[in-house]
């Protein structure tokens, strides 16, 4: 709606006053030209979206639902027979990671807005973004040596006398995956959340503070509800990103169950089996689809309320 109104304005400004008779025709021609121009401007992006997203998507759906040229659910049967636990595992790991990312980024954003120690705020504000610039594969490689049984973390604990050397254990399993995801994705969400929090009208916060509310209560009852849409968008983007990461589960945890990306890579590399790999891919699409749908429904309801 907004776009149309803006186009209209531009057109009016650009129109020179002419004879009334040709006005309607000219306006129609102008409008077609504007539409064409708009289409032309959109065309490259649209072509790229179609070629790089829509076509591969349709192609992978077609590959998932056919076996040797005929329609079949065999790929899905096999995917569930072999990887049902991995599907659940993936969903739980990503779900838990997303929840933790939400908690930590709200905590970081909250401290940046409500904290009272200026130095601590400055240090945190400078520090928390760093993982944003580290690629997943590098993060995974670091975690491999950091979280291992005799890795940097445990060795430091032992050196500090916090734990006994025989009591150390490796975190290179599902816990390692979650730790890596949370470490890597939190800054992204925290950046969005902190920005939204900083843009809030501070009057509500000050009012609550004047009435004696604790900082935690202000965060939970006043700040978070106002930045919720931003938080949810950040979390959904993180969910989708993590679902597509291969390096982290591959490098951090070798065991089973594992994440769907590892299974997809394995089906292709070991068997050239694109059918089952695409079936697994489609299952991940459905997961993101479900999350996106929840989000859309949520925003629609919010809009309806307004």
């Amino acid at each position: 709606m907004l776009h149309e109104a803006r186009h209209g304005d531009v057109r009016h400004e650009g129109l020179a006053p002419g004879p009334m008779k040709g006005e309607a025709r000219r306006r129609a021609a102008e409008s077609i030209r504007a539409n064409l121009l708009g289409l032309l401007l959109v065309a490259p992006a649209l072509a790229i979206a179609l070629a790089l997203f829509a076509y591969p998507l349709l192609f992978s759906i077609a590959s998932a639902v056919t076996v040797e040229g005929t329609l079949s659910v065999a790929n899905f049967t096999k995917a569930f027979e072999f990887y049902d636990r991995d599907i659940l595992f993936t969903f739980v790991i990503i779900g838990v990671s997303t929840a933790l990312i939400g908690l930590v980024s709200v905590a970081i954003g909250g401290y940046l807005v409500l904290g009272e120690n200026r130095t601590a705020i400055a240090v945190l504000g400078w520090l928390y973004r760093w993982p944003l610039f580290v690629p997943f594969i590098v993060a995974a490689q670091c975690m491999r040596t950091f979280l291992a049984k005799n890795g940097l973390m445990n060795n430091s604990f032992v050196a500090l006398g916090l734990v006994d050397i025989d009591a150390t254990q490796s975190l290179l399993d599902w816990r390692g995956i979650i730790i890596t995801f949370v470490w890597k994705q939190t800054p992204f969400v925290a950046l969005m959340v902190a920005g939204a929090m900083a843009a809030l009208d501070r009057a509500t916060i000050e009012a609550a503070r004047n009435l004696g509310a604790s900082r935690l209560r202000i965060l939970v009852e006043i700040v978070v509800p106002q930045i919720r849409p931003t938080l949810v968008v950040g979390l959904i983007l993180s969910f989708v990103t993590m679902l597509s990461v291969l390096s982290v589960p591959l490098m951090v945890s070798g065991g089973t169950p594992t994440m769907l990306t590892v299974d997809m890579a394995y089906r292709i590399n070991a068997f050239g089996d694109y059918g089952v790999a695409n079936a697994l891919g489609l299952i991940s699409y459905l997961m993101t689809g479900a999350v996106a749908w929840i989000y859309l429904r949520e925003t629609m309801r919010e809009k309806g309320r307004k």
Partner: protein
């Protein structure tokens, strides 16, 4: 530049480009396509290519890597197949380095030249992988570039008397839970090779798995072996990848694990693994695999290609390049290579695993069909 001079040189260049091969032989470029990990591409570009060019000033070597694993071999095949389908008079792949599975397929499809008798080094090849590639008869069509072998690496500080058989290994893991680690089947070939070795050890007829014939009923007999492997897995650590096993050995987190012998020695040479670590090839054996030099049927520069393979499989190059620099086992018979190596290098390679051990316990990978079926059976019955 004067325009006339420019035109003249342009015409000369054009004439050279369209000149018949007889004249062009003065200076040819051969295309060497290599499937496999980066170290194999490095081997051709950094070592083999320059050494060959030095000896043959008229020939330039252009090396192309097509990526690791069977997928890399697949790309080479696709390139050749496209030119064959287009009925091209010559193909632009002169020498290819491929895996066993693809070599068998290429021989079956008739896209390879039978060149081994035309090169002098052909007679130095003795291992049966030069004739049999995962059940396919490739006799005469391939020259092994090297052999790589899996073995059990162990830390002598933690294991004084390493197991010599699979049964001893099982007993050892029961006594020392979580001290043996391997990388399952999704994290790289050293783990896959260990699983193949396990199936060989627990099969009534392992020879059939390695040489064929293929019988779809055979897989039904793997149940007990896989159940035992599942139980074995309770006492071991699943490591993240080939490198993951070596990392954990290095940090002392595990005391034993299957590794590729060449990776093991390279890591030791790079200081990423203590020099005290040792290798043991347990009975009845673990698989290894060669990579093959092949020459396509319609290679554009057939003579230069043969010259290149002859050079690459000569005892001196096999000693210096394959054994000394890259820690692989030679593709030709080791006895021809020994004379070109100093004692220390020879002893390092054959210290833990003697040539006799290698001959008796160095197994081939299973043939194509069983190769896939064992992996799937593992997923179904062990990992699930």
């Amino acid at each position: 530049m004067d325009r006339r001079v420019f035109l003249a040189s342009f015409c000369a260049a054009a004439a050279m480009a369209f000149a018949p091969p007889a004249i062009a032989q003065q200076r040819v470029t051969i295309n060497v396509m290599t499937a496999g990990d980066q170290n194999m591409v490095d081997y051709v570009t950094d070592y083999l290519g320059p050494a060959f060019e030095k000896q043959n000033p008229g020939i330039r070597v252009r090396a192309v890597g097509t990526g690791p694993g069977d997928a890399g071999s697949q790309k080479i095949w696709e390139r050749i197949d496209a030119q064959r389908s287009a009925n091209a008079a010559t193909w632009d792949v002169d020498v290819a380095v491929v895996h066993q599975r693809m070599a068998g397929q290429m021989v079956k499809e008739g896209v390879l030249a039978r060149y081994r008798n035309d090169v002098k080094t052909g007679a130095l090849v003795t291992r049966d992988t030069a004739r049999n590639a995962l059940g396919a008869n490739v006799d005469g069509y391939v020259m092994p570039m090297f052999h790589s072998q899996t073995a059990i690496a162990y830390n002598p500080a933690l294991v004084s008397d390493p197991p010599k058989t699979f049964d001893e290994l099982v007993a050892w893991t029961k006594a020392n839970p979580k001290k043996f680690g391997y990388n399952g089947i999704k994290g790289g070939m050293s783990g896959v090779a260990f699983v193949f070795g396990w199936i060989y050890a627990h099969s009534p007829n392992p020879q059939q798995l390695m040489e064929g014939p293929y019988d779809p009923k055979v897989k039904e007999g793997w149940g007990p072996a896989l159940a035992k492997l599942k139980e074995f897995n309770q006492n071991v650590v699943i490591t993240p990848g080939n490198a993951g096993t070596l990392d954990m050995l290095n940090r002392g987190e595990i005391a034993m694990g299957p590794v590729w012998v060449d990776m093991f020695y390279t890591w030791q040479a790079d200081g990423k693994l203590p020099p005290t670590m040792r290798l043991q090839l347990i009975s009845p054996g673990l698989p290894g695999q060669p990579m093959y030099y092949v020459i396509p049927q319609k290679a554009a520069n057939m003579e230069a290609a043969k010259k290149f393979v002859e050079f690459a499989t000569s005892p001196a190059i096999q000693a210096e390049g394959i054994v000394k620099r890259f820690n692989w086992y030679p593709g030709i018979d080791a006895q021809h290579v020994q004379a070109h190596l100093d004692r220390a290098v020879w002893e390092k390679l054959f210290n833990d695993i003697s040539p006799q051990d290698l001959a008796a316990k160095g197994k081939p990978m299973p043939i194509g069909e069983y190769f896939k079926e064992i992996q799937e059976a593992y997923e179904r019955q062990v990992a699930n």
